[in-house]
């Protein structure tokens, strides 16, 4: 538990720096796999004909599914499947980690067959005092998803809490 913690200039200098782009794919199989993992029974996420009847061009991405990062051994995280070289590492020395929350904003539709270019950046750092955890560092990462037509279809913000 940190009694004293401050955001240094060095940490602050990482805000806004973008990761190299990475490719994420949505396929009929990946959409079904995600929908099955969540436990959906809605045929629109499984059956292309049902999806088309509901007005989609192919199986739509269920909410919160933004494609699967292309996995390449040595370049991808074996645990989390995303690119290893994503948002910059903040050297804060805190060892505890909690997932604070997730927000997704949609600007277009995502369907099987789409290929997304994904870039993430450290969007903000904040220090808060917690009664049980002491000084906490709240790190916000912003990830932008751009489709094959160059349209930004989603932005996701995630909060990591270090303590």
């Amino acid at each position: 538990m940190a009694e004293e913690f401050e955001i240094t200039e060095e940490m602050r200098s990482l805000i806004g720096k973008e990761s190299p782009p990475w490719t994420y794919e949505l396929t009929t199989t990946s959409v079904r796999g995600f929908a099955r993992g969540v436990g959906y029974t809605d045929p629109v996420y499984f059956d292309v004909e049902a999806a088309k009847a509901a007005g989609y061009r192919n199986l739509p991405a269920p909410p919160t599914y933004l494609g699967t990062p292309v996995f390449i051994p040595g370049q991808s995280s074996d645990t989390f499947s995303g690119p290893i070289n994503s948002a910059p590492r903040v050297e804060h020395g805190l060892t505890g980690l909690l997932d604070g929350g997730t927000e997704t904003e949609y600007f277009g539709d995502l369907c099987a067959g789409d290929t997304l270019t994904v870039v993430s950046k450290l969007a903000g750092l904040d220090v808060r005092q917690s009664r049980s955890l002491g000084k906490m560092l709240i790190s916000t990462t912003e990830t932008t998803y751009t489709n094959q037509d160059g349209k930004v279809v989603a932005i996701q913000r995630g909060q990591a809490i270090f303590y």
């Binding site: 990946s30 929908a35 993992g37 436990g39 959906y40 645990t79 995303g82 929350g101 904003e105 949609y106």
Partner: protein
């Protein structure tokens, strides 16, 4: 019958969604979502041993809030924004109940919008994953 913006009221409750995922369901989610953190499937993993159990992925609960909204919308609209906060751990084979309420509805730039307040209640009656959504309805 398709959901209509005109027929929803502020204060309306979304039909509840009950979930009681076991380890097999969590393995399916890990495969579908790509998060293979052993904390979500391996009881021998040190952090799981320390907690006495594996825990449900926060993102599984987030996606489940999305499923709740998707079921309610019935494809008569789309999600503009969906967020949640992770306020507590949930464990496999324990039921949690996802629910929501229409907080407000309004029109903006010719679009028919609604804001939803969402929750995931565990067996002890604690909301471990409060959430918010803004949806656009077709009509």
């Amino acid at each position: 019958m398709a959901l209509k913006w005109d027929s929803i009221q502020e204060g309306d409750a979304l039909p509840e969604l009950r979930k009681k995922p076991g380890v097999t369901q969590l393995v399916k989610y890990a495969a579908g979502g790509g998060d293979f953190n052993p904390l979500h499937h391996d009881y021998a993993f040190p952090q799981a041993k320390a907690l006495g159990s594996i825990i449900i992925h926060g993102r599984f609960k987030y996606a489940s809030l999305g499923e709740l909204v998707s079921n309610w919308l019935g494809h008569a609209g789309r999600i503009r924004r969906l967020s949640c906060q992770y306020r507590g751990m949930d464990f496999p084979d324990k039921e949690f109940v996802l629910g929501g309420t229409v907080k407000r509805k309004w029109e903006e730039n010719g679009e028919k919008l609604a804001e939803l307040e969402l929750r995931a209640m565990n067996e002890e009656g604690k909301d471990t994953t409060p959430g918010q959504a803004i949806v656009v309805l077709d009509a």
